[in-house]
Amino acid sequence: MEVTLDALFVVLQPLNVLLLVAGLLLGGIFGILPGVSVLTAVVLVLPLTYSLTGEGSIILLMGIYVAGIFSGAFTSILFNIPGDPQNTPTTIDGYPMTRKGEAAKAIGATVISSAIGGLFGALVLILVSRELARVSLIFGPAEYFSLTILGLTMVTVLGGGSYAKMLLSVLAGLLLATVGVAEVSGESRLKFGFAAVNAGFHFVPIVIGALAMSEVFEAAATGLDISRQYAGQPLRMREGIPSRRELADMIPTWLRCAPIATIIGVLPGHGATFAAFACYGIERTFHRRRAYFGTGEIAGVAAPEVAGNAAGMGTLVPLLALGIPGGGVAAVMLGAMQIHGLQPGPLMFTNQPRMVMVIFITALIANAMILAIGPWLARYIVRLLRIPAYLMLPAIATLCVVGAYAANNDIFDVWVMLASGLVGTYLRTQGYSVISLVLGVLLGPIAEGAFVQGMILFGSPLGFFNGWISSVLLVLSAIFVIAPLAAALLRRLRGASQTLAEPRS
């Protein structure tokens, strides 16, 4: 109780409240801008957190994350252009509502659904992560190694696209993390004679380049510019308050989608985007007004929005409880915590209980603040869409330089960021996974530490199968690796047998 009050006192300090509001506004702005994801916002703000306390940094990042997930729905509703990938299903019913003159109603549904989903996800985060962390206190190097491998394989398999390309992306990230001094022995390796990489690559320039800079290069090629479409529709937000009938339509959606999306979020993989699509699909199948989906049905807006924020909070569960991020934003948050000497995981609950409580309280307050800040964002911040892409994208590029340089005050890091941006752009266009690469970079040291400790302890890779937990996790990882390959092989064999069975004409 004392820790809770202490954490509440920290969160309610004027500077931290200011940081939370600034985070919500920044997240709202970046979420609204199409082609620039909330992940970019979190990555770009990372260098600013150097001058903040650990708690202040997390409060700022949580604000950005929470607002960024839902605010992309505004452009989905108003312009039929999703601000972020997880807001794509919102266009299906949101834009028809705008065309019917019900834009305010759709935005009202978005704001309320996002807040409910986020609050539900935050409650699950509080209840589950503590228990999960308690269980994981018995974990040794074998369990940690197998858990990291399971996380990486799940992200790889659920990431979609070519399976081999996803695996290679993760492995490339793991390899990048090995360059320079090995934490276990202090010996330097894989330098190729370059003194600049003696200490290894700092993860911040790689993350900024691969995630944010590549997004700028991609947006430059797509030419997506919403500024010409902006007509400045007046929104009467009083009309956004749902009627009793509309609430009756949305409540079953919230009840079904919030738990499902939170579970999807907890599992490493697509997180909010996958949850939004899955929940829209579920509602389209089971909702009593399913026949009206696609024509401007309010539950069709509520489903992906409640799912997005619930899953967004769910992705923080494995990060806090086990120290393993379930997605891109969680990975950057892990990086932000590491910058401040914090290591998420079970020990954080015993060593830094106040920090954990700060995260919990911020998650609850930030999601509740959506209700206050959402309509304001929809009405005023949407006007920022008038800023053309030719001003916005170069400005983001210069911010990337600030972020990369500030990591070590070294111009070499800016070159690393540029190289990561070029590689990231190529990977994006050729169906590789940039997120998997970043997760590999961030989880590489954890995986290596646990692997080497395990090898010293057991003397053989078979030792990782000694405990039942690590055995189960490794078997699950193997299933995740083998199942898609087996399925593809079966499909090919079935196709071949059908071709043989077909009578020749």
Binding site: A164, V216, L393, P394, A395, T398, I411, L418
Partner: protein, 167 residues
């Protein structure tokens, strides 16, 4: 470029990088605990890239033998970026950004950004009016003020005097 051929080139590059890294790793006098993890990662990379390369080569050979000699359409898959309307803008922006980074230590962040922002804007389709160019310079000044002066993020000074001398 045909997708199978592109995949074959990509996998060859991965194999070359992984092979060189493995050679570098084995060449260095390292203790086992330093070497073992990168060795595992590199071995996995080589196995996966090798299998992918074989699969790509097999596809190239099979499709080439099946395809009509007068058409090479079956080999070519539409490139993912083919739908993008302005691919050249991306390459121009990349080149300009590289020049910007190279100029940073000499010109300093403020001056380099003041030149980069309007130039990048022009590449991205900004109408070349004096007002727009000035807007780019003003944005560079605003970003510099926010980060370098307000948040005191130390950026390369180059030709510019330290902000402390101005304020």
């Amino acid at each position: 470029m045909p997708s199978a051929l592109r995949l074959a080139i990509e996998m060859t590059c991965v194999l070359v990088v992984a092979g060189l890294s493995l050679r570098e790793l084995l060449k260095q006098p390292l203790i086992e605990s330093t070497r073992i993890w990168p060795q595992v990662v590199l071995s996995l990379m080589i196995v996966i890239a090798g299998l992918q390369l074989l699969s790509a080569l097999w596809r190239i050979v099979r499709q080439a033998s099946r395809s009509d000699p007068n058409s090479n359409g079956s080999l070519a898959a539409p490139p993912l970026e083919g739908e993008w309307p302005y691919p050249h803008r991306r390459y121009a922006l990349m080149a300009l950004f590289a020049i910007y980074v190279a100029a940073l230590p000499y010109l300093g962040y403020a001056l380099a950004s003041a030149l980069f922002l309007p130039a990048a804007g022009v590449i991205l389709g900004m109408p070349r009016t004096a007002g727009n160019l000035l807007l780019g310079v003003a944005m560079a000044a605003a970003i510099w003020l926010l980060f370098v002066v307000v948040f005191e993020v130390p950026m390369p000074q180059g030709l510019m005097p330290r902000p402390g001398r101005w304020f």
